[in-house]
Symmetry: C2
Subunit: 503 residues, 2 copies
């Protein structure tokens, strides 16, 4: 029996393992049912179907559930499990929406969950979902949108509740669920939901956010923070309509050239952002954060090999150090056409979609303001809608800028008693302590928990790092789904913070 685990946790782990030995096929089939529901946040009808699925499944397991509604937003699922005698309330956050789809890049439909014998890039072959009792290879993968991000936690949670119930094992904490339906567009209504319904969560002592991948080395990790996020779209204008590139080429301004100069002025090829003050507001690392970074495994070489990169934007620093800084990514570029659809015209406009990831201390609005100031410094007059003819004739260079509101980064202290309990839960499952990650690269609205609700919040990831998160061919490795079940079982049966275990 590994150290750091209570008897209740050991029993819970035996229960999940026994349960999936007999019910593994059913767990995967149920998971596929959820994955088959399209879940792009902008698709209101389907996002509702996802919420109703979760409402139904948690309700029939005895969870007191309610779908909260704000006009124009996906439902937020509230849920409660009351545990007799418990002194701690765990808040559990996950999100049921997924990233938008670029259909042509997917090997299969993202809404037809498909089982493969291995990762596609390793030659994985399609196979049928297993029949009841058939052995399940933990290296199999299910491909579907949100297979990892973020529906796997629902599948694991539901199966864990079933396993504990079937074994007659009680939880050791009260639990409150908060399931978000628009995390992938930066949870624009979550603050409003918490403003309206936050009282229902006031008694939560600690938040566990079930999201994100484990470490790239496949070792478990526990993350104490998340990057903030803010997006901006910039469109620059050439002629009012596309012009023949022969008649007007060398005379009419070319929006692609204008945009190239603007973007090149924002960031060096080596990764250094040139926006004034871009790095100034970033909070310094605490001693324990620096120690955690120093203890993290080296992975850069393996990642370069995996991603086919001889050169990175690292300036000599480690990946984990790079994500402690704000970043500026060109998420998209569009002007005219390329490939066989390219035409001999000077396009009328060129657009760049910019993505910012924020570090602790960076205010989203202030960071976007900094980019706007930079754009003005390059001689542009900024507008918020497509410029009308008269506006065009008043300014030599026009840029339309639209902004997301975004949200800031957040970090929770590594030195709270609950940290030891959560780390012990990981050890109970895997026999090794999780890597302490001061911040995940991913963005989550963690600040609402740490800064608005004012409670510690940790990110407890289960997905494989190579899950193609946010991209085509997203997938989950079955071993990681099983890890999720075990970890949640250990978390739901943690001893109280004040109790000691046999170390």
């Amino acid at each position: 029996m590994p150290a750091h685990s209570s008897e209740a946790q050991q029993a819970a782990l035996e229960a999940t393992r026994a349960y999936r030995a007999t019910q593994g096929a059913e767990i995967l089939t149920d998971f596929a049912t959820l994955l088959a529901l399209p879940n792009v946040a902008s698709d209101a009808a389907n996002i509702e179907r996802n919420a109703e699925y979760l409402h139904y499944e948690f309700k029939r397991r005895g969870v007191r559930v309610e779908l909260l509604k704000i006009h124009g937003a996906p439902p937020l699922m509230y849920g409660v499990i009351k545990t007799p005698g418990a002194t701690r309330t765990l808040g559990i956050y996950a999100h049921y929406d997924g990233q938008p789809i670029n259909h042509e890049r997917w090997t299969q439909s993202p809404w037809e969950p498909t089982l493969y014998t291995a990762a596609l890039r390793d030659g994985g072959r399609k196979r049928l979902f297993p029949a009841q009792g058939e052995p399940i290879d933990p290296d199999w993968r299910i491909y579907a949108r949100s297979a990892s991000d973020d529906k796997a936690p629902f599948a694991a949670l539901l199966a864990t509740l079933d396993a504990l119930y079937e074994a007659g094992l009680p939880l050791t904490s009260h639990v409150k669920f908060l399931f978000d339906g628009e995390e992938e567009r930066s949870s624009p209504h979550l603050a409003q939901y918490l403003d309206l319904y936050g009282d229902a969560y006031q008694d939560v002592d600690t938040w566990l956010l079930l999201d994100g991948p484990v470490h790239q080395t496949r070792r478990p990790q526990l993350a104490f923070g998340a990057r903030g996020i803010a997006n901006m779209e910039v469109t620059v204008y050439g002629p009012e309509r596309p012009l023949h590139s022969g008649h007007y080429g060398n005379w009419a301004p070319v929006p692609g050239t204008m945009l190239s100069h603007l973007l090149a002025s924002m960031k060096e090829e080596n990764g250094r952002v040139l926006i004034d003050g871009f790095y100034d507001s970033t909070a310094p690392l605490s001693a324990s954060e620096q120690a955690a970074i120093d203890a993290m495994p080296m992975q850069e070489e393996a990642l370069r090999e995996e991603f086919g990169l001889l050169q990175t934007e690292d300036g000599g620093a480690r990946l984990v150090e790079r994500i402690m800084l704000p970043s500026l990514t060109i998420r998209g570029l569009a002007s005219g056409n390329v490939g066989t659809r390219a035409r001999n015209v000077i396009p009328a406009f060129a657009t760049a979609s910019l993505g910012l990831r924020l570090a602790k201390g960076n205010d989203p609005a202030a960071m976007l303001d900094g980019i706007e100031a930079h754009i003005r410094k390059q001689g542009y007059h900024i507008v918020r809608v497509n410029p009308v003819h008269d506006t065009r004739l008043q300014h030599p260079k026009l840029a339309k800028v639209t902004r997301s509101r975004g949200y800031p980064a957040a970090r929770t202290s590594m030195d709270l008693p609950i940290v030891a309990r959560v780390e012990d839960a990981v050890k109970a499952v895997l026999g090794e302590a999780p890597i302490r990650v001061p911040t995940l690269g991913a963005s989550m609205p963690l600040y609402l928990f740490t800064d608005v609700l004012g409670k510690p919040a940790f990110i407890v990831p289960i997905a494989n790092h190579d899950n193609n998160q946010h991209a085509a061919d997203e997938n989950i490795r079955i071993a990681n789904l099983w890890y999720g079940m075990d970890l949640y079982a250990a978390l739901l049966t943690m001893p109280p913070d004040e109790a000691s275990v046999d170390t």
Copy 2:
């Protein structure tokens, strides 16, 4: 009666004008039938239907026609009209293919020719095609792909042949037709066609290329040259697959940033191209060309107003001077997604479609080589296909470059006797001399006529300058279609070069 015209020309003009007074509606209906045939050069089945339509229509007017074929290329239509007693053979070139379509930008389907009471941007309203005998407003416009570029010359030619035939008027020259089916992709097989079938055109004395718009002031023009063309597509690579911009943003290279720097290094925002030697091979202007340029009407202010441009890439020079130089246009940019489809990823690649317009003296291959040398100078290793994993790990920066072959610019002397005859034909129609344009901005494979067949070649445009050529909502003003009929009538009845007219 205007000076400079022969009696035969005056009779021919009376014939075309009388003919369309009664048959105008039929001319427009027949034209709409041709416009309804999709004609993107890559659409082999439909391009064939266009060729067959022309074959049928010219044949039934007594023209000896043949559809020449090269495997993998659209047919080239050869045609002959023998004129008893004629001493001159006119070659007439036009093309029946059109630019590719960006459907979402069109107000209507590009293959549903539609009549409007005026230009759409001036509030033109849809109306039925006129009934036989109904008055036709010359300000009406037909919207359809190739309405101007380059099917209008076919409609005007066929109607002119009908008018002359109905009036019993003979031509004064032999005529040979050459109708191209892939001009919009730079006529990649025309040289091969001329190599195989050029003998049939050896007796042509002068080539008239029916293509392009009249001057932006709506005055007639005669063009003595055309720009050459060459295209290049450049793709630069980030990670081998799109990566989560949170986990890897600030570390994985961003292809949009790489491409921005590369493109910004190629050309200043003011229009100056920075490729080494880009301007060096350009032929200087002859005295008569310089005189023609000096005599051309000023138009820049009106064009800036029309296109909504306060600032242009002119470096203080006139538009006509700018098109005597080679140009570099970014025809398209693409990376990831923008707008509602934008996702929080670092895209795997970014692509730019580059369009070169060439001036006399610029060799297409050498110009493209210059750009490749520039790309290498920016640290890129150039590949011709998407790089495999091992290639990616051997080079810090990779660029895939694909090139069109393109063709050079050409110019014909302004001082040949035939020039006066052609100018007289314009005067016979409009009472004013055409503007002499040393080169059109558009590209046409004029060099095949001037340099390969070795004969003078003029571009005789009829389309309105605001026809949205190459873009969505392409259109022709009816007045310009009528001008085409009159001009072709006057050209087909020109006196011999040695004859003098009553000046």
